[in-house]
Assembly symmetry: C2
Homo-oligomer: 210 residues x 2
């Protein structure tokens, strides 16, 4: 297996953190998305979508989508369990994981992609038509990121982890989103004590440095 990765980017970090939680170490190659390496012929020959991360299996099979890669790893290496142990827990983890993506990641990415000069005409990730940046979309993304963060505080004041009483892949997504949000200037503050305590707990895990 080999993982095409970018150290700075939030989605590849999800996979690295997941692998670290599983105690796995696989070869990685860096792809500089900001410099547009993911859109050059060499990388498009590996993954025509131009997205990172991409996992290439030993037989050449290509897997993308961070959470699909994580799920594959979970099936090959079930312990420690990160996707849920029962049908109900798996559904709840999935629901929370998706919320962290849709309410967190997507809004932060909207704020980021639609303002950063390096992403001019690349308002959408990966290969595809040029997408001029939309300032109003960045503005909505920022506002919704703050709303998401307040929702996290409410959740974490009632639950020790995002999906319930133990650490799961939903915490990985949420934790990385909290860090990603700093790139667009949104930070937990004194109105987010439960979020801050949870964040410090996750940050103390060795996987957070992966």
């Amino acid at each position: 297996m080999k993982l095409y990765d970018m150290k700075m980017a939030p989605n590849p970090r999800r996979v690295r953190m997941f692998l670290a939680e599983k105690g796995l170490d696989i070869p990685m190659e860096q792809v500089d998305i900001q410099a547009g390496e993911n859109l050059k012929p060499d990388y498009l020959a590996i993954n025509p979508r131009g997205v990172v991360p991409t996992l290439v299996l030993d037989d050449g099979t290509v897997l993308d989508e961070s959470i699909a890669i994580c799920r594959y790893v979970e099936e090959l290496h079930p312990e420690p369990n990160l996707f849920g142990k029962t049908p109900l827990e798996r559904a709840q983890v999935e629901s929370w994981q998706r919320r962290m993506e849709f309410e967190g990641m997507f809004n932060i990415a909207a704020a980021f992609r639609n303002t950063m000069p390096a992403y001019a005409n690349r308002g959408s990730p990966g290969a595809g038509p040029a997408t001029p940046q939309i300032p109003a979309m960045a503005e909505r993304g920022l506002m919704m990121t703050r709303h998401w963060m307040n929702g996290l505080e409410a959740r974490l004041s009632a639950s020790p982890f995002i999906a319930g009483d133990r650490f799961t892949v939903a915490d990985i997504t949420a934790f990385i989103c909290v860090d990603f949000a700093k790139w667009v200037g949104v930070r937990a503050d004194d109105s987010h004590p439960s979020l801050k305590a949870w964040y410090q707990g996750i940050k103390a895990r060795p996987s957070a440095a992966a």
Copy 2:
């Protein structure tokens, strides 16, 4: 179990079609999203997120996110298999399913939510802050919907189904997105023969009428 549903809306339709493929029939209650019923206190007491569909289990547990609901149903009723039979197939189905959401559903929804008068100030689904419509986002959504549809044609000229050689949940998402795209004026045409043939095949399944 009870499903809160809206006959016209694409996301609840995914769950209904999934249940029909499984041969299951569960009680449903209609929620009129367009009229804003999902944002009224009665519904918010059931699901504070204000999203539809929502599945309520017999013990009162609330599950949302269409794909989390489908995954739960798959675990309780494994046949016919719709999420993949092996770790690799499950990862591939997940990756394709997500692409249909992110490249299809989200772009169509962006075009729809940011133009329809009924969704003024509701540019984002569910409860949450007012989000004024953003015409440029609708425009990008339309353009990306066309791009997604061309990508579907390429995929379906090489593969009988979205995720490979058999019908899966990725086909359900894609099929419903093709119908949803009509609401924003995007239709398969003569440049999409493989997509049209696949569409007719899916439409002929009894579950398509669910």
